[in-house]
Symmetry: C2
């Protein structure tokens, strides 16, 4: 059976519509039970509580052309409570894009696109969810795009769980949604009172939730999440307010529709046993085959389109000029403003990272996220969903470590985001170790799809920033606080996966490998070694992941595998780790590699003092190189 | 001049007291300017705004025996806005524990304990701050200890900035403080309207802040932060409410006391130029030498004392029995409950991690943090400040990635916390990649003071959990979801930094190195290789950091440096990286090392399917080992 909703009667649900919504909700329940019981795992009870909410949303509010998931005006539906995937996939069956067999027989099976938690392999899924408290923040990015960039009337509907409202990231999201007046965002919170491990913190204290939501600037609508008319009225109201996000707080019952386990603890993340499932399905009226057609949005195109003719003119610098790579980032990102899809996000440090320079030339594509780095990354992910090219930046320590789970999930989503972390390493000096990223390279290398770049001078930084815009994945560029000499001319190219060799001679006895600030220390060390009669080449490993393995191997062949790798980072998992992993099975004889990373806990001081105390200054490189050469003399 | 405050007149500040407070505040301002101008860096304007608040706190409310920083009944003073360190250090001068010369001439200098942001090298500093939004969460842990464990009347006073209220972690903290009725906690928010980069999101909208604070369950007191009597009254009230935390929202003026830059943007993180500093100091009345004595707390001892006689009886299992290491963690941590200082913290997954079993035997030392992993770690840090032995646990993906900046700062604080992350790797199966920790080892190895453990069976897990309790640092144990055979007897010892060798023969041609679930794959592979006539030893690298380098080198000498390292983790920075870093300069000939880590983005499926698809199952290990052996045959 096929039916249709029209926009005219939204919010005035009559008997016929109520009946249809009830039948749809019942089918969603039956299907949620069926697929999870068949899989032997999953979260049916968390699906059952939200079935009425989603039935009404699907029938009467979601505007979506299922035949064309890439229609620019489609609404967005994000399950922030990703574990309710049985419900989401049952909705897909109800609109006809997932078949009976796929739903019931492949859910959570190896090779199926109906994974345990929603994944963007499905064309209707924007972002991977399953790490709680991320779907709503991601939707804020989608809605920033909708309101300020695309200027299209699509709406983002986000199904949240009540447990995830304990995550601070949810409040960062509601706060930013209100600050940016995202009337195109509605969170629907399925307050089913029970978490995985027992009652949630606030259980059914709906007024407390409402107070919080309102205090953070959103509109709160408290409803009975099983009253179809009330749901309909709330969702109508949600879409009617262009200047304020709405949070529908729906009081629901976990496992609603299966009386024997309704509101019972101990049924989270558990499929119903087969006999219980059969009883429940029978009591619900059995398997049905209702297919519905949702409203489709009017056609429309984003206000911003890519401009293939846009020519980026990167800034140029003179060789020897002292420029901080963070300043080069600011200059380069400003030059990229001619590309209409480039967007810059700041964590309230744009004056230090130089990201703020983009705002000066292109305020309409600059978003201040204040000191909420989780939302900073989530906004970038949401913007990437809409096809923008987001650059998020902050100090490296805060940019990578604070929202690391959001970065991890960006990798799982295979989202395309660009991160620029400045003020990395002990080089920052007097501010001390709380501000020093010393683990960011290790953390970022282990992210799926990641690219890790760490240029040493202004032209290489500018070139890589420009390249990042066209590079897929979670692309991270690490920048330095202090000013160091320009070493490359404006024509030099810096492909991702490449490196640069300095001072190469056929008789080089050792190679010094650095990136960023340590490249300058390596160059100074090579100078000193040359004076002492030890020819040493220097490798600028500006691309840490991917890494130029072939050049490393060639280098080893020349230097008898004598390498000194030096990094302003802890010695675990960073540049040294990357080099060693690359050489694990290389046919280059015995390795004579010295890894120099930051020793112990740094303190405050001048950059040069700290580089030296950390054991990564030119002096230490010289000593390490000498030792390698002398050991085999 | 020395004076004294008494508790009796708290909140009834008279003319004489007002005068003294004013003079103290003025001295704190002068000293904050002096030290930062001398250093040429720092945040004087962020110190000036809070000088009145801290003067009144110090004179009339803080109970602290400065001669005995380890007095158990001392209040705690935490600068969550760590950049106001000039103010903190000026307070230390005012109470006589930091001298004139140290303050003015060493601040931010290399070798000084007066670092850019407060560090626990100072005996009065509990935790390193400087990553915003962490001091208040840490204080929640301190106050949990005070109210529920120590049962002592000390109070924690936390100076927060207004910018950091944009961090979700602040709201996790206020929420948990209210949930646990922490009347012993007062946050004093210095609402000076200006962040680093311009106006804060809410500027001086005091009522909005108050609404948020109250919605999250704390008492909000809005005051003029430069009205000494009002400050005094608010702080008196703050201490008077045993069942509810207080947030004093103080409207202040950035740079207050230096009219030419008061409330002016562009002066964050900038020392006053010398001439401006001289003018300002003169206008403030010049350098003074006021020394004050704070109230000292009554003596007292924590209700919980270590019991050296407590004997931990670890559970035992039969060889071959199938037990999940997460279950062994639950059993072991429950056994550790006999040690009075052991505390367990859960992120609302205690039924899955098995941490909940501790609650069954010792509910009074179990704290549910719900789904707020940042607060989970911060609570552990705060408990460690009070000398407890906190174990925080959740799924590895959420335990490490979500609060990674808190873990980083725990390392910077050199706090002693224990983390147990379960459900690591693709082995978890059907839940899919959002739940799979595949980067946690890389991330954790790069943390200062970290220890990384990954046992493969129940007895080794139990032994390591017991050892963790006596191991300093940020100690992480990674546990597996599924049940695997017990391979060690109850007498086996598992020292940190050790490993176990299986199937060693003098003619071994290759070594298979695994940990956790891959150890079992390695054992199966070795069996198969033996049948094919290739003797292979297996190394259980249960201690990934520190790592048993000597045994690795010995192994290489036997196997002609043929190693297969296999891990349920991305191939960057994990176990393979650790092994390769350790062998960088080892005198063991050419390496023939194959690193097997998880390839690409995993999907949902059965554990065995996923291990195989990831390229880390026995089959892949056999193939890799064969290839290594055959290449040199």
């Amino acid at each position: 059976m096929t039916t249709n909703n029209t926009q005219s009667d939204v919010g005035t649900m009559t008997g016929e519509h109520l009946d249809l919504a009830h039948r749809l909700a019942t089918q969603l329940r039956v299907d949620s039970i069926r697929c999870s019981t068949q899989a032997g795992s999953g979260h049916p009870t968390s699906s059952l509580s939200a079935a009425d909410l989603m039935a009404v949303l699907l029938l009467r509010h979601l505007r979506y052309d299922w035949a064309n998931a890439h229609q620019a005006t489609n609404d967005h539906l994000i399950f922030s409570k990703g574990h309710a995937s049985p419900l989401l996939y049952s909705m897909y069956r109800a609109v006809g894009v997932v078949g009976e067999d796929e739903l019931v027989n492949t859910y959570r099976q190896f090779g199926s696109r109906l994974e345990g938690h929603p994944m963007p392999i499905l064309p209707w899924v924007d972002v991977a969810t399953g790490s709680l408290g991320q779907g709503l923040p991601d939707a804020v990015g989608v809605c920033l795009a909708g309101k300020y960039l695309d200027k299209l009337p699509y709406h983002a509907w986000v199904l949240c769980g009540d447990s995830e409202l304990a995550e601070g990231s949810i409040w960062e999201a509601i706060d930013k949604a209100a600050y940016y007046k995202l009337g195109n965002l509605t969170a629907i919170v399925d307050v089913n009172r029970l978490g995985q491990n027992g009652p949630t913190e606030l259980q059914w204290e709906m007024e407390k939730y409402a107070k919080r939501v309102e205090a953070f600037g959103a509109r709160a609508l408290v409803i009975d999440g099983h009253n179809l008319a009330a749901i309909d009225a709330a969702l109508s109201e949600a879409r009617s307010n262009p200047e304020q996000p709405t949070v529908v707080l729906a009081r629901t019952i976990k496992a609603k529709g299966v009386p024997e386990i309704e509101d019972k603890n101990g049924w989270h993340g558990k499929a119903l046993p087969k006999d219980m499932a059969e009883r429940a399905i029978a009591a619900l009226g059995g398997v049905t085959d209702l297919t519905i057609t949702t409203a489709t949005p009017d056609a429309g195109a984003p206000a911003i389109q890519a401009d293939p003719s846009a020519t980026v003119t990167l800034p140029v610098w003179d060789i020897g000029e002292k420029v901080a790579t963070r300043a080069a980032f600011g200059a380069a990102i400003s030059a990229l403003a001619v590309r209409p899809k480039v967007v810059v996000l700041d964590g309230e440090v744009g004056n230090s990272t130089h990201a703020g320079e983009f705002k000066d030339v292109c305020p309409e594509r600059f978003f201040e996220m204040f000191i909420s780095e989780q939302q900073l990354i989530a906004s970038a992910v949401g913007l990437s969903v809409r096809g923008y090219i987001p650059f998020a930046s902050s100090f490296a320590a805060f940019l990578i470590a604070r929202p690391y789970d959001f970065i991890r999930m960006a990798g799982v989503s295979e989202a395309n985001i660009r991160l620029v972390g400045t003020h990395a390493g002990v080089e920052i000096g007097q501010d001390g170790p709380s501000q020093m990223a010393l683990e960011d390279i290790a953390a970022m290398r282990a992210i799926h799809t990641s690219v890790v770049l760490y240029p040493s001078d202004a032209p290489s930084t500018a070139a890589l920033v420009a390249t990042m815009a066209d590079t897929d994945g979670v692309v991270y560029l690490r920048a330095t606080r202090g000013a160091y000499p320009v070493i490359y001319g404006p024509e030099e190219e810096f492909p991702i996966g490449g490196c640069k060799i300095h001072r190469a001679e056929p008789n080089d006895q050792v190679a010094l490998i650095g990136a960023g600030v340590t490249l300058h220390e390596c160059l100074a060390a090579a100078e000193e070694l040359a004076e002492a009669g030890i020819p040493a080449r220097v490798i600028d490993l500006y691309s840490i992941k991917p890494l130029d393995r072939d050049t490393l191997i060639d280098t080893c062949r020349i230097t008898n595998s004598r390498l000194v790798v030096v990094e302003d980072h802890y010695p675990q998992g960073g540049i040294g780790g990357a080099v060693m992993e690359a050489l694990a099975d290389a046919d280059i004889g015995q390795l004579h590699v010295t890894l120099l990373g930051v020793k112990g806990l740094p303190v405050s001081g001048q950059p040069a003092e700290l580089l030296d105390a950390a054991g990564i200054s030119a002096r230490h490189i010289v000593a390490a190189a000498r030792k390698l050469v002398e050991a085999q003399a």
